[in-house]
Symmetry: C2
Subunit: 320 residues, 2 copies
């Protein structure tokens, strides 16, 4: 049972651009009806961001949670698992958290517009083998196979492997180099929600750090699920009062890509330790939780991982 005080959605951020010198298009929208002439010249709204929110009947979190997904994904990553179990949205609402679940700029319901500079380059459409081999589901290169029985899955993997195609249906195109526009929309969201806790996966981690740098007083906690952060943090004092949790799954070994991402992230965040005594790192395997891919919100043990996050939120007194 889910009891909500309110739920809804909105778009936030973005800007207006003016398009010139494009040809009119004569397009046939409706079979059997007259064709339409579309004149694209004029004003367009671009780079906005879609947010869906849920406010529980009895709020127990001290601040709302802002969910930020990883590259090629949308907020759907937190709504369900490919094999049809409940996602983290339901889990955290039931715990009494208000949730703002986002689609980053250009992904999913945020839309995109080919006339904006940020969308002029062709986006990446990931083929099935790529996340399988890169996100620690399969055992590295050439481990994907069309037939699930012939896939070389990592031993003990908790990914719902029979639903791998269903996972691939969740993915959306990814444009490169629109970080600035994405951060801008996230900052607008934070100004709207007020003080919040950020839960960010993978690419989202970078945006979470930027939000705290820009609005230190509005970011009350940061949960980073295998973030990919390689930046020079210029104002580490912005994080003085922000508890941070880093969560890492299984199969991260010296030499592999995720080990490098982890080292880069830890190097980037090292400077914060001088200013912040509330940084925790959880290696799930050290908690007895094994088999996690880069997508712990989708793995078969996703609720065990959510429990770890909930415990940390309680420990850091962000929960009533």
């Amino acid at each position: 049972m889910i009891k909500l005080e309110d739920m809804g959605s909105f778009h936030i951020g973005g800007k207006e651009i003016h398009v010139n010198n494009q040809q009119e298009e004569r397009r046939h929208f409706t079979p059997g009806a007259d064709p339409l002439i579309i004149n694209p010249n004029g004003y367009h709204e671009v780079e906005q961001m879609y947010v869906q929110y849920f406010i529980p009947e009895r709020e127990k979190g001290r601040y709302p949670l802002i969910f930020m997904h990883g590259g090629a994904m949308t907020g759907v990553a937190y709504e369900n698992t490919p094999d049809g179990r409940e996602g983290w949205v339901n889990y955290f609402i039931k715990k009494g958290w208000s949730i703002y679940n986002t689609d980053a700029v250009g992904r999913g319901r945020s839309g995109w517009n080919g006339y904006a500079d940020s969308f002029k380059e062709a986006p990446i459409h990931l083929p099935k083998h790529d996340p399988f081999e890169r996100f620690r589901i399969g055992d590295g290169k050439a481990s994907y196979h069309k037939n699930p029985e012939n896939m070389k899955v990592l031993p003990g993997s908790q990914f719902p492997i029979k639903s791998y195609d269903q996972f691939m249906k969740q993915l959306v195109p990814r444009w490169i180099n629109n970080e600035k526009e994405t951060v801008s929309a996230y900052l607008s969201l934070l100004e709207k929600t007020g003080p919040s806790i950020i839960l960010a996966h993978s690419q989202g981690g970078l945006f979470a750090i930027e939000m705290a740098l820009n609005h230190p007083s509005l970011v009350k906690g940061i949960i980073l699920i295998e973030p990919t952060i390689s930046v020079d943090i210029k104002h580490p004092d912005a994080f003085t009062n922000t508890p941070i949790l880093l969560v890492y799954g299984d199969y991260i070994k010296p030499g592999n890509r995720w080990y490098k991402h982890m080292q880069n992230t830890l190097n980037s965040l090292k400077v914060l330790k001088k200013y912040n005594s509330k940084i925790d790192m959880i290696d799930l395997t050290k908690k007895g939780i094994f088999g996690n891919s880069h997508l712990p919100m989708l793995d078969l043990n996703s609720i065990a991982v959510a429990n770890i996050i909930q415990e940390w939120l309680e420990k850091r007194q962000l929960y009533r």
Copy 2:
């Protein structure tokens, strides 16, 4: 207060394609990290559809409602209004309806894939003047102006005109000529939900008709909000047991585009009358509801229009 037995989402439909002979791409995903080599050759999932569902604590509808949006839109059209009021999703959940709110193929969270034939042509990105002048918000051609004070709005318009830019943020690119793939995904949804009632806006009306033609026993009612239907219905007997409601807003006058759409739709559906005595057409102005644009779910009087639909559902004994 919204009390839900369950809520969640899934992707449905679509197919697998194989991509050949494309160049590998070397792309820099993460600032400061190693570039990634993406090999797009291989299998891709394409043409799937995103669906979010809500099951109320006490279900009072005899069947679930499937919400289908119009062209250039997504399920967001039913979630909120541009000026921040509750959308029809909340309204109908509170009445006790189960809801499946969809993003048609290629829109929003359904994603899209440039390697599939259905997405090879460039999509349409609507400029701000186009829906304003075409969707009966402004008074026809050249009625849009960047400054809301200089817009020529139709007299008595119920569109939340100060939030027009916010409406434009909801729109997404539209590909032409993927009707077949869209209908296919909607049929998969209907097979999953079982007997259902369809509420379809504009372009969605065409898909609703195709669903009833393909699965007459699974479509228990059809609500068409200003549909754009110009087809020859070859098996009108498929609609024998399906109550149909047509809803039209204000400013539809002989000679204008929406009058033609209405005439085309009524001509297409005329053949059904021999087989079906439960076809109702509501001209909202005849009910004393004035000022509606082509987007009554967003207009200031959106709840008055929802009430009309709810009354019809009760009259047709689709509600307990």
